[in-house]
């Protein structure tokens, strides 16, 4: 019987400090075993449990897209015991990955529709995965207009700067990256995500919007979405809660009857309306 608690061993191939405060770091991971790599069959929106021996596990959204090859990318904010230990690991270190876990963004529903991706701050990891996936040559034709609205406090707090640079040059994505306040050398948009969303005004007709970000951003963006005509069914988000098992058993991450780890983390606003706000 396969043990769902046993992490796959992986090697840290590369680390990148993403932000100017040096608190957010990306880890590019390679599986030690070919069969583990094959077994790790994921879809954007899913997450994995990252293990550091002696410290424990931490659930992190998968930032890479399955279209990018065999490597996995995770972007980790230094916050607690495990994430701090993870930040201290050097390239070449061995660690563990358990997953993929959770549901994913609803690509079956997104197919044939316009997709608006709205992200804020550090909650951009699985949104990166989603955009890379949709822009991939094999998939791009499946989706209509793709609109990106992504904001951070400062230019130095934006994640994935090289990837953003590439996207900005493409003509098959509406690229709207913004910072809260004007900054030296910044030539892009300035303003908070809700305001920028209102300016960009993506159409809600035959469309899906995916929104991830800090609670305050979500709180002020949702009314804008309603104004733009997005129904709760068309508006998708991803939740976070404390987790341990990641497979719907250990009991702590539930929001009402739903386990964020197994039934989520992706929920529509229509689903969330029926659920207690315990997240």
């Amino acid at each position: 019987m396969k043990n769902p608690y046993l992490p796959y061993p992986v090697r840290i191939e590369e680390t990148v400090i993403e932000t100017e405060d040096r608190n957010i770091k990306s880890f590019k991971l390679a599986f030690l075993k070919e069969e583990d790599c094959k077994a790790f069959d994921y879809t954007p929106g899913q997450f994995a449990q990252l293990s550091v021996t002696g410290k424990g596990e931490i659930p992190i959204g998968i930032a890479s897209s399955p279209t990018e090859g065999d490597h996995l990318l995770f972007t980790v904010n230094k916050m607690g015991v495990v994430t701090t230990a993870l930040h201290n690991l050097s390239e070449g270190s061995i660690m563990g990955v358990r997953g993929p876990l959770g549901n994913s963004y609803p690509f079956d529903k997104m197919k044939g529709k316009d997709v608006t991706i709205i992200g804020g701050g550090y909650a951009f990891t699985t949104l990166r995965s989603t955009i890379v996936y949709m822009l991939d040559g094999k998939n791009r034709a499946d989706f209509g207009k793709i609109t990106l609205i992504y904001g951070a406090r400062t230019p130095g707090m934006l994640l994935y700067k090289e990837t953003l640079e590439e996207w900005s040059k493409r003509d098959d994505i509406s690229y709207n990256v913004t910072v809260d306040r004007d900054a030296p050398g910044w030539t892009g948009r300035v303003g908070f995500v809700p305001a920028v969303t209102e300016q960009v005004a993506p159409s809600s007709e035959n469309a899906i919007a995916v929104i991830c970000g800090p609670p305050i951003m979500i709180k002020f963006t949702l009314p804008v979405m309603v104004k733009l005509g997005f129904t709760p069914e068309q508006t998708i988000t991803s939740l976070e809660n404390r987790m341990k098992c990641g497979i719907g058993i250990c009991g702590r991450c539930n929001v009402g009857p739903e386990y964020v780890c197994k039934d989520g983390p992706v929920f529509s606003m229509a689903q969330l309306k029926e659920m207690p706000q315990e997240y």
Partner: protein, 343 residues
Amino acid sequence: MEYMRLNKKNLAAFIEELKQKCEVWGPVKEGDQVKFAPVSNVSDVDLEQFKNTTMSPKEIFFPQSEIMLSFKREGEGANIYRDEQSVPSKKAIFGIRPCDARAFRILDMIFKNDQFADNYWLTKRDAVTLVGLGCKEPCSTCFCTSVNSHPFDETGLDVMVTDLGEHYLLRVLTKKGRELLAGSHVLREPSEANIEAYKTVRKNAEDAMTVQFGTDKVNGKTVLELFNEDYWQRISEPCLNCSTCSYVCPTCHCFDIQDEVFREGGQRIRNWESCMSWIFTVHATGHNPRPGKKERVRQRFMHKFKYIPMKRDGEIGCVGCGRCVTMCPVNIDVREVVKQMNS
């Protein structure tokens, strides 16, 4: 249905027979507590006085602390987690109460969901044959008949034993049960009268238990209707937020996973944890989705009486064993709580 009869005088011989096939566990007194343990001497087991074990028997399959994985820090294979599952020995557990056996069936559904199977639970479960003991005289704190069960509920059991005074009547319920009893020299064919006596004992026990509350209205209400009720504040007021209710409960199954380090390596261990603890849900940021005792007490009752039934075809996440009723240090009585939920 197959029936067999065991004269009480032959209980010791019967246990010895079973021991030839597998380990035999029964309710054994240890200090103030009664717990399931290997029966070395049949005189350790007093089935006449036995009501139920102090702690629920879930610990047989789901120990309070369990090593899941191990790792070493140096050398070949360093920092790679290894599976630490051992092959469990075959056991027959004698004297399990119907409520607790039913709880195992509920936990089977929890530990094996539509996507994942917890092999630590499953392998130990598979190795066990459950010989139940029907409840001739349920306690006043028992309420199995209020949660879709009854004192002779056979759910989850392989054999059901009924005390008929001079004899035990054994009802064989599964293939596993049949295999356990096969070849016994002390079991006899019961008489028609024995079987009639069993039916009477069973009926009397069931009649003696009044249904204390219903759950129909709980089922009819939405999650948010129940969640937003005012009574949670009052119900939770006396709560100490200790974990007694969760730890004595046969269906509470929440756990924590921790890495522990020793000089040369370490282990990944799972430990029981309770939704009564603030630490259970706190985020690394310090935000806690269930910050106070109202939220935590509500979670425990909602989980058992609303969330589990919603997700498991109406199965209630409580079997009515009454342990939390007797053990809660501040007398938060689940029966009173569900009466309010169902009002």
